[in-house]
Amino acid sequence: AGQPHKRRRTSEPSEIEERLESLICRVGEKSNSSLESNLEGLAGVLEADLPNYKSKILRILCTVARLLPEKLTVYTTLVGLLNARNYNFGGEFVEAMIRQLKECLKVNMYNEAVHLVRFLSDLVNCHVIAAPSMVAMFENFVSVTQEEDVPQVRCDWYMFAFLSSLPWVGKELYEKKDAEMDRLLSQTESYLKRRQKIHVPMLQVWTADKPHPQEEYLDCLWSQIQKLKKDRWQERHILRPYLAFDSVLCEALQHNLPPFTPPPHTEDSVYPMPRVIFRMFDYTDDPEGPVMPGSHSVERFVIEENLHCIIKSHWKERKTCAAQLLSYPGNNKIPLNYHIVEVIFAELFQLPSPPHIEVMYTTLLIELCKLQPGSLPQVLAQATEMLYMRLDTMNTTCVDRFINWFSHHLSNFQFRWSWEDWSDCLTQDLEKPKPKFVREVLEKCMRLSYHQRIIDIVPASFSVLSPANPVCIYKYGDESNRSLPGYTVALCLTIAIKNKASNDEIFSILKDVPNPNQDDDDGEGFTFNPLKIEVFVQTLLHLAAKSFSHSFSALAKFHEVFKTLAESDEGKLHVLRVVYEVWKNHPQMIAVLVDKMIRTQIVDCAAVANWIFSSELAHDFTRFYIWEILHSTIRKMNKHVLKIHKELEETKARLARQHKRRDSDDDDDDDDRSTDREDGPLEEQIERLQEKVESAQSEQKNLFLVIFQRFIMLLTEHLVRCETGGIDVFTPWYKSCIERLQQIFLQHHQIIQQYMVTLENLLFTAELDHHILAVFQQFCALQA
C-alpha cells in the first residue's frame, strides 16, 4: 500500500545483498536438517558468491559478529568453514574485524566491541586465528591496567573483554600457551585486588548479602573464571557447531592477529559504567527441575549473557523476543524459566537505569506467560513473593520499579493475588518497606481501575493500606466554613466562573480579598497575597474537579490570573501548596496539574523543588508520587535545555549553509538578494538563542543545586538529631531519604557530571557528615 516508485537500476545488487543477509541471519531457522548441514550448505553458497560479492559478504559477517552475539558460535563456525575453503577470505575477514574493533573503540561502542573480541577469540577454536596471536592481543589488553592516570573504568573494560572471552576460548589458549595465560591470570588477580569499589553500594539492588551476595561484576566474573580454571577449563554449556567440523577445520591454515595496540585514552572516551550482578535464584528454588548452575559457574555467566543479548536484539518485537528466549538451547538441562525471569528482573532493577523502557518488561513477561501458561506464571509468582520478602533491604529506586511492574501486571490479570499471604505487613509500622510497598501498589492499582475495585479485591484487614478515595477537598464548600476569611469571595467567584466570567472580572472580584501580609506590602503593583491565591485556586480547582480535561481547561482559561497571582517565588510556592490542599487525596491529579503548570509557566521547576522539600509536604515526603513529580520536573528541565540547544545548532547550520550558498554563487547572477537581508536576522536569532541556552543551562544547574542543598539540610538535621538523642540513624525515613538522594545522582548522572567542581567546592565539602559525603563519593567513583 505504499507509493509506487520507479524500479531503480541499482535494485538488483541490493536485492542480492538482502538475500545474502537473510540467508546468513536465518541460517538454521525453520529447517528440517541439522544446523551443521545448514552451515555446510551456506558455506558452499557463500564460497560460490565470493568472486562477485566478497565485500558485501564481509560486511554482513562483520555486522553479524557485532550485533548477534547470542549466535556467536554459529557464525564463527561459518567463518571457519569459509576460511578452510578460501584462506585469503579468512585473512580479509580477520582484517575487517580488527578495523571494526578499532572503530567501535573510537566511538565509545564498548558493548559491541566486547562481542567482536569474543568472536575473534572463538575463531581460535575454528582454526581461523592462531592461539598465540590471540594470547598476544590479550596481553596488550591486560597491560592497560599498568597505564597511569587513566580512569579505572578504562582498565575495567579491557579486563572484562579478556575475562569474558575465556568461557569460549580459555581451554584452547591454556593448552597452547599455559605459561603466558598463568601470567595474565595472575596480573588479573592483582589488578582486581587493588581496584577500588566505592561505587558498589550505589549500584546494588539489595544491601544485604543474604541469601545471595550482590557482587561487583568483575569480582563475579573472576570467581567464575577461577572455578573454570580449577575445572581444567571444561565448559559444557556453550553450543559449539565447529566441533562437528573438526576434521575439516583442523586442515585449515590459521591467520595471526596483527599486533593490536589499545587506542589511548582521550577526553572524549566514555567507558561503560560498572555493574553489580543481580541474583535472586539458586538451585534450591526449583527443587524438582534441572539444577540451576551456581553463581560462580561459567555456565551461569554464559546463559545470562546470551539471554541479555536476545532481549537486546528483539526488544521491539515482544512476541519474537519471548519466543527466542524460550527457545534458548539447553532447555531441559537448565531451569530456563528461572533464568529468564531472573535476567528480566536484573534488567528491570538495573541501576542507574534499565537498558530498555520499563513497560517493555511488563509486556514481555505477559507474552512469556502466554507462551508458557503452565509454568511461567508460577515462577513469576514465586519471584514476586521473594521480592516482597526482601523489601527491607531493597534499594528505594528498585522498589519504585517493583511497584510499577506489579500493579501494571496485576491489572492484566483482574488484580488476582493472594493478599492474605502478606498479612504480616499489617502489624508493622506503616513506614516500613513492606506495608509501604503494599500501599503504593494498591494506589497504583486504583489509578488503573477505580477506588471501589480496590476495596473489593483486598481482604477487609487490608483497609488500613487501601488508598484514599481520590476526592477533592474544597475548604469553602460547607456552610459551616462561612466564618473562614475569603468565604464570601469564594462564593462570588464560583458564581462568576459558572457564568463564564473573563479574567478581568475575576481580577476585580479578587481585589476585595484582604492581604494577611498587609505589613509586607511593598506598595508596588501586585504583592504576594496568599489569601487571594487560596480563594482563587481552591474555587477554580473545585469547579473543574470532574476530570483532568476540565482542570486543564480551567488552567488555560484563567492562565492570566494564575500568572499574575504566582508572579513571585512565594506566589508560585503558595499555588502549589493550595493545589496540594485541594487534591491531597488524588496524587495523580496533583502530578498532572504540576506538569501543566510548569509547561504553561505558571510555576517554574525551582518552585516545585522547593515545594517538595517544604515542611507542608513532610508528611508525604516518602511517598512514591512525590518523587515521580520531582523526576518528571527535572526531565522537563533537561528536555527544555536540549530543545533550545538543538534550535541553536539548527540556526547556526542554516547560517553556515547560507554562507556556503553565497560563496558558491559569488560569480553567478544572484537573483535572490534576500540572502543578504537574511543574514542579519539569522545572526540576531543566533545571539538570542545563545542567551536563551545560557539562561536555560543556568536554570538547570540552579535546579540541581537547590535539590542537593535541600537534601543536605534535611539529612543533616536528621543526623544531628539522632546523634544528640543517641538514637539509631537508620530509620525507614532515613533509608528512603538517602536513597532518594542517590537516585538524583544516578538518574541524571550525565547532566550532573558537568557540575562536579561546583558540587565538590560548594556543597559536598569535607565538613559534611560522612553519611552524606559517602553518596557523593560513590557517585564520583562511577566514572573514575
Binding site: Q3, S22, M109, H408, V592
Partner: protein, 163 residues
Amino acid sequence: AAGPGSAAMSLGGTLSILRSDSYAELSQYRDQHFRGTRYDQERLLRKSCTLYVGNLSFYTTEEQIHELFGKSGDIKKVIMGLDKVKKTACGFCFVEYYARGDAENAMRYINGTRLDDRIIRTDWDAGFKEGRQYGRGRSGGQVRDEYRQDYDAGRGGYGKTVQ
C-alpha cells in the same frame, strides 16, 4: 548504550532482522473521512504523535487512560470519544504524546494489553480535528456497536440493531 547513528553507518549499518518493528508500523486502516489524498494521510500517520485507542469500556476514564499510556512517555492530551447524541463516552479515545518515540513505545507495549480488563487496541492517527471525537454510528456511538451481535456489558450491552 549504542554509539551515535552515524557511527553505526560507518560500521556497516545494522541488520534487517534487527530493524523489524512490526508493532509500530501502520495498519491497513485508513480513515475514510480524512480530507486529503491517501499519500497525505500516510505522510501524517508516519510522523504522528497521536494514537487512536479502541475497545475501551464506556466506563473507562480519562484518568485511567492517562495512567496507562503515561507509561510510555509524557502525554500531551487525551481526548475521549463521545456518543454524538448523548455526549457520553462511547468506548474510544485519542492519546497525543509530545514525542513520536513515546507513541511508538505505546504501540509496541500497550497495544494489545488490558485496560479495565479489556484488551485495547491502538493505531496511528493522522491527528485530531474537531468533530473526530464523535462516534460515526447511526445511533451516535461507534459503527462497530451498531451492528454488533454479542452482548458486551462494558459497551452498552447488545449492538444497536439488536436492541
